[in-house]
């Protein structure tokens, strides 16, 4: 027992010494003035290029590169009187929150970027907030949807954090209204992607607004492929519709398996579904009676000239139909450009001001005005798929 006592004393003494040591670490506080551009305007990309969200990250990267190429071909961004080209610094955060923080620090400190596009996921985004704020460099996330992403704990806005997508509350409640008013659904089942804030957040918002009965609430995980068990259980629940917020890779399978199991009620989802791949995975015959809320669709080109040119360029470069993630990322770059041109400066603090004051910005995903919480206000539509084609669009108020 004696050795234990001795050890305890030794540890206690050490801890005291250690705490004393921690106390004398030099605190350094530098109020950053933000980064300034050099010959080029350096924009950082903090993106999920490997790991579980790599599919979405790569789509966003394509959108970003398309936007930058287009801007550079027309001479670059007008900064004050001169025009400067954009230089992209693309870094992979492995879909890891720790790495996202490290990538953010590298982009702002070592690469001296004046703005960052990304990360795609909310958690990776929140992990990089401290480093972005310390360096006074703004970031625009194309797809971080958690309502609190742009807010501090006390409810104040995060000064340097912006997003280009809808936040969950808006989208979830819009879906609820659409299902009540347009689809007249009184009993619904909810199928949630339970592996990220996206699905769970939308479900929370949906349940808050929806006034009918939620007959069944089930979840699935990212990467799941077999939904037969859940769907068989739903079949006899006498539901009018299914609300299933998630991404196209799982939703495509849900739609396919639901139709094969003989469940033909409307399936309503969110903008994570707005991708041509959804139909490919589900199959044309199954992608019937499917609805989703989205700011952008392949039909956007009919009404929006910017979207039309984006769709055309994307098809020419990548030989596939542009997905929503690419569109949002494309807009994120142009939002930074608009902020620089409005302020006449590419200093990162100035860009932040410009982004916060963004008004009536015409983008691929609609006309955007940044509200006080750094959420873009733009109109939402609901699209209906029939035989895999967008057949109708509805406006939701």
């Amino acid at each position: 027992m004696k050795t234990w006592q001795k050890m305890t004393i030794r540890i206690a003494a050490l801890s005291i010494a250690a705490v004393a040591m921690a106390g004398c670490s030099t605190a350094k506080n530098n109020g950053s003035q933000g980064n300034n551009p050099g010959k080029t305007v350096k924009i950082g990309v903090n993106m999920e290029l490997s790991g579980s969200a790599a599919g979405y990250g790569q789509q966003q990267k394509q959108g970003i590169q398309l936007a930058v190429n287009k801007i550079n071909r027309s001479g670059g961004i007008k900064v004050g009187k001169s025009k400067k080209k954009i230089q992209l610094v693309i870094r992979d955060n492995k879909t890891s929150n720790t790495t996202a923080a490290s990538v953010a620090a590298q982009l702002v400190n070592n690469d001296k970027v004046v703005a960052v596009v990304g990360p795609a996921a909310t958690n990776a985004g929140t992990a990089s907030i401290p480093n972005m704020t310390k360096a006074a460099v703004p970031s625009v996330s194309p797809s971080a949807t958690d309502p609190d992403y742009t807010l501090q704990k006390n409810g104040d806005v995060q000064k340097y954090i912006f997003r280009a997508c809808f936040q969950n509350n808006f989208q979830g409640s819009s879906a609820a209204k659409f299902m009540t008013n347009t689809l007249k659904a009184k009993r619904v089942a909810v199928l949630t992607d339970n592996s990220s804030d996206y699905g769970t957040g939308l479900t929370k918002a949906f349940k808050k607004t929806y006034t009918g009965t939620v007959a069944s609430s089930q979840t699935f995980q990212e990467g799941d492929k077999d939904f037969n068990a859940i769907l068989t259980a739903l079949k006899h629940k006498k539901i009018d519709a299914i609300y299933a917020p998630g991404y196209y890779s799982e939703l495509g399978l849900i739609i396919k398996q639901a139709r094969q199991a003989g469940i033909n009620v409307p399936i309503v989802g969110s903008d994570g579904m707005a991708d041509a791949k959804l139909t490919k995975i589900a199959g044309k015959a199954s992608a019937n009676n499917v609805y989703y809320t989205t700011p952008f669709s392949t039909k956007s080109g009919d009404t929006n000239a910017i979207a039309a040119s984006f769709l055309k360029d994307f098809k020419a470069k990548y030989h596939t139909t542009a997905p929503t993630f690419s569109a949002l990322a494309y807009d994120s770059v142009y939002m930074v450009k608009a902020a620089i041109e409005n302020e006449g400066s590419a200093n990162s603090v100035k860009i932040t001001d410009g982004l916060a004051k963004l008004k009536n910005f015409k983008g691929v995903t609609g006309t955007i005005t940044m509200n006080q919480h750094h959420n873009p206000e733009k109109s939402m539509i609901v699209e209906q798929l029939t035989k895999g084609e967008v057949q109708r669009t509805y406006n939701v108020k």
């Binding site: 490997s50 579980s52 790599a54 599919g55 990250g57 790569q58 789509q59 339970n194 069944s216 089930q218 979840t219 699935f220 995980q221 990467g223 799941d224 492929k225 077999d226 037969n228 068990a229 859940i230 068989t232 259980a233 079949k235 006899h236 196209y248 890779s249 495509g252 399978l253 396919k256 094969q260 199991a261 003989g262 791949k277 490919k280 995975i281 199959g283």
Partner: protein
């Protein structure tokens, strides 16, 4: 009643996929005591191979599956030769880390060269749904069940009835003694990897066809589940792996059917722990006596 029947079908077709994957784990583990973490990724390669040959070379389904099995067998042998053979005398945990490294390499290599996008698998066989007394079953589900059972039988025959099978069993019991009686250990182990990887290749193509969606990370979760299946069944035993696979498939289906889908995986792991506590070597595992 109909619902229960339908869920049984769902569980069995999910289970047959796990079983096919579990076979590869169990064989490799049985012979060199290595948890081959890269096995799930070989299954992914099989699916991509099927995607490629059906789309580009217009193979029919049977040829696509056979060629995928051949291709995966080759990949398995190559991986064993370069990554695991140099480590046969090293601590087992080292080989495990190498296996994890190989798994990372395959996943990220595929992501790098072919992007992480989800792809839709070409529908080489038209889905036909049969209705039997209110229970639905598709021809593809039947195909998967049938192929799984056929391959398992074939495997059991190879292990029990052929000379190579005898060699495999001998090496798994005592490699040195096997060598003494003239068995070429290297060939036997390569053969085991080929066989196990071929099973994974078949599973890859079947799943591609069934779910119609493949991506470079598709092997991760099923790989771990299949390993759990192999452990439940008693790792090293072929009938055990099949049983474990079906058991997990049915269990997952049952948990989802009663509405606890959020805890689907938790229940699987819980059952795993309970089974291991009651039967420390799995259901069909051999109990090894401790020598003092």
């Amino acid at each position: 009643m109909q619902t229960i029947g339908q869920q049984l079908i769902n569980g069995l077709s999910l289970g047959s996929i796990y079983a096919l994957l579990a076979l590869g784990y169990t064989m490799v583990y049985g012979i060199i005591k290595l948890i081959n973490f890269a096995h799930g990724d070989i299954y992914m390669l099989g699916a991509f191979w099927g995607y490629f040959v059906i789309n580009k070379l217009h193979f029919n389904f049977l040829f696509a599956m056979l060629s995928a099995m051949l291709f995966c067998a080759l990949v398995g042998v190559i991986i064993e030769y370069f990554a695991y053979r140099p480590l046969r005398k090293s601590p087992r945990i080292t080989a495990l880390i190498t296996a994890i490294g190989v798994s990372f390499l395959l996943e990220n290599g595929m992501t790098y060269f072919f992007t992480a996008n989800t792809r839709n698998f070409p529908q080489a066989i038209q889905t036909v749904t049969y209705h039997l007394g209110g229970i639905q079953i598709s021809n593809i589900q039947l195909l998967i069940l049938g192929t799984a059972c056929l391959l398992m039988l074939l495997l059991e025959l190879i292990i029990k009835r052929t000379k190579m099978g005898k060699a495999m069993r001998a090496v798994s019991v005592d490699p040195e003694a096997a060598q003494l009686v003239g068995i070429n250990i290297n060939h036997t182990i390569s053969f085991t990897f080929a066989l196990g990887s071929a099973m994974a290749g078949a599973a890859g193509v079947l799943i591609g066809l069934y779910y119609n969606s493949i991506d470079p990370l598709m092997g991760m979760t099923p790989g771990i589940k299949a390993f759990v299946a192999a452990v439940i069944g008693g790792i090293g035993s072929v009938p055990g792996a099949s049983l474990g696979g079906f058991l997990i498939g049915l269990l997952e289906t049952a948990v989802q059917a009663v509405g606890l889908s959020a805890y689907k995986d938790a229940v699987v792991y819980f059952v795993l722990i309970v089974i291991l506590l009651v039967l420390p070597a799995g259901i069909f595992g051999k109990k090894t006596k401790e020598k003092v």
